[in-house]
């Protein structure tokens, strides 16, 4: 892992970092990743645990509810109030293209 990796990850995560912060993060992350790497040595004892996660999660149950409208306790006013910028009850953001 090097400073470019930190920059790439920070860009992906949309977080602006100063040069000092990048260096600090690099050293912290190296130490932490070195530690969690021991997951490689975990033996998976039973047959079946070497399958991809998705295949195992197929055993999970779906949770269903009736397809009917139920009133929810959301306050539209409180949501609108907190928009950083708005116009005619809509959220206003900078142009995307």
């Amino acid at each position: 892992m090097n400073i470019t990796d930190v920059e790439n990850l920070a860009n992906l995560a949309r977080i602006e970092l100063s040069e000092v912060e990048k260096k600090e993060l690099l050293s912290d992350m190296k130490g932490i990743l070195d530690y969690v790497k021991q997951i490689e040595e975990v033996n998976l004892p039973k047959a079946g645990f070497d399958r991809p996660v998705k295949a195992r999660l197929w055993h999970a149950n779906n949770v269903w509810r009736e397809d009917k409208l139920e009133p929810r306790d959301f306050s539209k006013e409180l949501i609108l109030e907190q928009f950083p910028d708005k116009q005619d009850g809509f959220l206003k953001v900078k142009k995307i293209l």
């Binding site: 949309r14 912290d28 975990v42 409180l78």
Partner: protein, 478 residues
Amino acid sequence: MSIDLKNLTIAKARKALDGKVFSAVQLAQAYLDEMKKKNKELNAYLEVYSDILEQAKTADEMIAKGESYPLLGIPVAIKDNILIKGRVASSASKILENYTASYDATVIAKLKREGVVFLGRTNMDEFALGGSTENSAFGVTKNPHDITRVAGGTSGGSAVAVSAGLALAALGSDTGGSIREPSAFCGVVGLKPTYGAVSRSGLMAATSSFDCIGPIAKTVEDTEVIFNVIKGSDVLDSTSIEVESYKVHKVIKSESKKIIGIPSDLINQEGIDLKVKENFKESVKNLESLGYSIVDIKLPNCIALYYIINFAEVSTNLARFDGVRYGTHKDGKNLLGDYLLSRGTGFGKESRRRILLGAYVLSAGYYDAYYGKAQRAREALKQEFKELFSKIDFVLTPTSPIPAWKIGEKSDPLSMYLVDIFTCTANIVGVPAISVPSGFMEINGKQLPLGIQFMAPHGGEKSLFEIGKKFEGIQIEP
């Protein structure tokens, strides 16, 4: 009138309120007075609500009408990551400093129906990432037993509020020990319920597959009272369940001895404080004298597994805080600039660290080696626990390998992660666990509380309350 807050429990307060010994307003006023005296120094509350006495008045009116619920008029503190409609909920983060909740968390709706008096929102590690409440954007919370030491975390404010007599009980949240560890450090009782036993609707997500809301209180009985009010499946949280739906496996016939398993390999390794080990041995002896049989079991060290999944889910969950719809917004030269600045200035150090680590373990080249492997190991561990709990009734460990440390002492983030060694396992497999005070250890003339942790199979809260009550019955003051 003066109310003996030090020895007050929910059970005692219920009797006194129903018997008109004191009113909910008088009780709330007593806590307000304590908060005025102590909160500035301890920093347990980020905000003390201005309408406490009005809430208490409403509770008194309900009592006058003859209504009685277990928590009617009981003053409770709420962790800052649980939403109360119309009130600020900041998760102790700059990015949500002025965020006002637009709905009630399910647990809050349930407490409101009971007529609970909400005292305020308590300090925590930002977005519930940490183990000492030092990661709060609004200052550290101090341990009332020694104010140069941490309260534990992430629910440090809630544990201190209860321990210092600034609330009769509190709600916290537990992702890898965040209710149990501060409870142990502050000498109070903390319950992490079975995953899904309490609805997470309205709890700000840290690691969705680990997070649980639970009570912090002075006695096991008090945590039981709160748990019984807040539990239950909820249409707003598809992972919630009725705890009763788990068939609690009875190991052997009820008249024979219950069996406690102790992972001695894990407890006897380096890094566990000698006095913690001594205290633990003493606790084991006490449990034997209470009629439990003790067996040795093997448990793996799960810290690597825990943190890989934690980073991955935290990184995903914190992606929603972008300054677009609510929270801190910083203007850049374009939309991307807005994101970079809002998130760059809004998140604290530990949040940023975990977001980047999560992005790393989830990235295409490393996914299989880290996240994929961790998920498979998690499934294997669940299976291991299933087999374990077919032979024993409880797993017992110290709650934390060390007592509360000096504020600022642990500057290396990894060293703080290692403190979760005994607590994170319950979150990985989803079983309930309770931390109960087990005595004190002396450092530099100060008595620091210690705690032990019982784990039970899924849906086994009842047996945790039972053993917890028996154990606290033999506790001695320092």
